[in-house]
Symmetry: C2
Subunit: 248 residues, 2 copies
Amino acid sequence: MQRYFVKPENMTVSHVVVTGEDVKHISKVMRMAPGDKIVCLDNQGRQVVSKINDINQDFVKADIIQEIHENNELPLHVTIAQGLIKGDKLDLVIQKGTEFGASAFYLFSADRSVVKWDGKKINKKLERLQKIAKEAAEQSGRRIIPSITFFSSWKEMLKEKQNHDANVFLYEENAKKKLHSDLSEVLNLSPASLLAIIGPEGGVSEEEASAYRKECFRNISLGPRVLRSESASLYLLAALSYQYELLR
Amino acid sequence: MQRYFVKPENMTVSHVVVTGEDVKHISKVMRMAPGDKIVCLDNQGRQVVSKINDINQDFVKADIIQEIHENNELPLHVTIAQGLIKGDKLDLVIQKGTEFGASAFYLFSADRSVVKWDGKKINKKLERLQKIAKEAAEQSGRRIIPSITFFSSWKEMLKEKQNHDANVFLYEENAKKKLHSDLSEVLNLSPASLLAIIGPEGGVSEEEASAYRKECFRNISLGPRVLRSESASLYLLAALSYQYELLR
């Protein structure tokens, strides 16, 4: 069944109103009609099966016929802090990271980020990425859309540390020297939430690495092969899903 | 250090000759000169540090100064059998799959593959994908370039089963019904090689699923969320790397 996130205020006890671009998707792309069923989510944990009773140009109205209690969310709350990378690679991180279960994304200007986000365009860029996250969340059966937050520097981003039980960063220079502590060691501490910092294409700068260490971020490695920046979060999330959802 | 795969016949006991497009990469892109060092691989397991002693338009000649015995290959030999999907998604499977440690790729025309490979263009397409695999292998520190083989039907592809210890396929319909056996159960059998079939965008057909089952392929699930076709192999390889390289 097709899944659509709606604004929380558009979902009442008995019915749902779908607005915005999804109206076109329901009527033109999926060619649905009154009587057809869709799944709606309020992005606050509620998920319902509902039967369409009215379709017009501006909205689709549907009656709630069943609450869905099944939960497909990764048990570990993972925030991917991704140093800014090129556009299509960032799209990949957001789309696949959402599929693989990330709870939130922090995007930050890293010392070695070649890409710069211009003040005026930031909101537009975030809006676009948020749309990618919404579609990936709908397609993959997520109950929430991961949030995406931009930080103009890693120093700003570091303040979010306190909201997470475990904090790690990927630093290739150390991984090569085998000075890393492994991911499984971090997971042995049974954190409920994890903040993982991933550098841009050029990697984590020495100043950043030293600051992360000072803030008690653990340096982890993701195996013996060198992963591209945009691949690291996918590897990490898949490994965490395997550990928390398949092995247990 | 930059890494280049060379033809096995171009690596002797004492020296290496780099030919083809890599010559331009060494001289023009990296702007290297005699005296600079590169790592060369023969794609048969040998990896050497060598010092350039001659650069011209057609080849780069280098003296071998050290053998590298370190091995970054995933201990489990994984073949990803990917039903044909759209071009950019297939590129992603090959590039990231190589980074994540796949040993080989089988590409096959699945019942629900929308994309068709035309007889005349197959070799050109394979050549292009092989180049993507070579570059990803060089960049990620692989010792071998995964091979890529095309099969015109899943029936042809199934004959390769005998070359693998364990055989699995991803079938969403069953995963939804929780009829799947989990990946970790398959790994408990300690296979040395694994063949994993992944359907195209539209999934595995009923006829395919029934044939795979008849050939003793196990139906596995990769967690509770719905993965796109091009994401499944990445999830699988990352999970296997975590299990074989980080947990052990």
